[in-house]
Symmetry: C2
DNA sequence: TCCTTAATGGAAACAGTTTCCAATAATAAC
DNA sequence: GTTATTATTGGAAACTGTTTCCATTAAGGA
């Protein structure tokens, strides 16, 4: 399918082109889908949300593209313990705030939180500096997740 | 196989029994294997390390047991991005220190670190308290990982 | 020792992801 | 605009880590 409709979401074109990648209708659709939600979508999730409007974007392309976007840093990949990779935009079109996750080990629900994020980031910065010096390790990224039982699951089981 | 040889590692028997589980030769072998290393073993890794001495412990049992031990909190499961779950003892026989991880996204090597761990744990405690109150979420556990490029991979590629 | 029932191994099924390749479309060169 | 180059593509099939199934075995309490 020719790339006719560029739904106006061009904020990410630069980054993708800089990495030597081309702009295609499929990539457009995938990024739009991720930008339209705060959910943590699996590849299948993305596929089914796109498929109605773009029946000719295959699941393989979704996997390839998510991989490539993660490589480029535009998308973050997570494992919340339900057997599939889950993805979200690293940074939305409006530069939303970086956040961490609260994962319910019962129902697998995930809560984004930004509370205490300033303290956390401040500590992380210090830690990163120390670690990268001590281990000669270039740190690009970090992940913090808390695991436990969510409000609803707590109620359901004493 | 009858459970004849209890290589002296009984420190974990209590916890397993308390959860209503039985002590078996397979479980013995699996915990011994995890206790004998600081590596982050996959199920296959455990299997191949055990198989020479216990040819009659099947891979299925390894999966089941690791799962059960993770449930019981004796073992921690990690995803370092190489497509398989990796396991380590949450706490060794001598009560070793809790630690976090530095993951190389190039070669997938993992470094355990305990530097700054006190500051980290102190912040985590505060954060956990705040989060559990705000979201009515019982927090059991946390995970911190830093991602980047290790010393060796940095040298290999400008 | 016997009995109940959890635990087991191996084969087969499963599910998420990757590979393969011929066809197509995005960009660069003109 | 046209053409040439080369990345990207969809779909089928392969792959791989993990789970399920079920008949057999053995742990632990009586
Ligand atoms: Mn999130
Ligand atoms: Mn470790
Ligand atoms: Zn829950
Ligand atoms: Zn490395």
């Amino acid at each position: 399918m020719p790339c006719q409709k560029r739904c106006g979401s061009q904020w990410w074109h630069g980054k993708v082109k800089d990495c030597g990648y081309r702009i295609t209708a499929g990539r457009e659709a995938i990024i739009d889908t991720l930008a339209a939600t705060h959910d943590h979508l699996s590849a299948e999730d993305v596929y089914s949300r796109i498929h109605a409007r773009f029946p000719n974007v295959g699941l393989t392309t979704i996997y390839r593209t998510l991989d490539m976007l993660a490589q480029a840093g535009l998308v973050s990949r997570f494992d919340f313990g339900d057997g599939k990779s889950r993805y979200e935009l690293t940074q939305g079109p409006k530069g939303e705030h970086h956040h961490h996750h609260l994962v319910c080990t019962e129902c697998k629900r995930v809560i984004d939180y930004t509370d205490f994020i300033d303290d956390e980031l401040e500590l992380l910065r210090r830690t990163e500096k120390g670690l990268s010096q001590k281990y000669n390790f270039r740190i690009d990224n970090h992940m913090i997740q808390f695991y436990g039982v969510c409000k609803d699951c707590l109620r359901d089981q004493p």
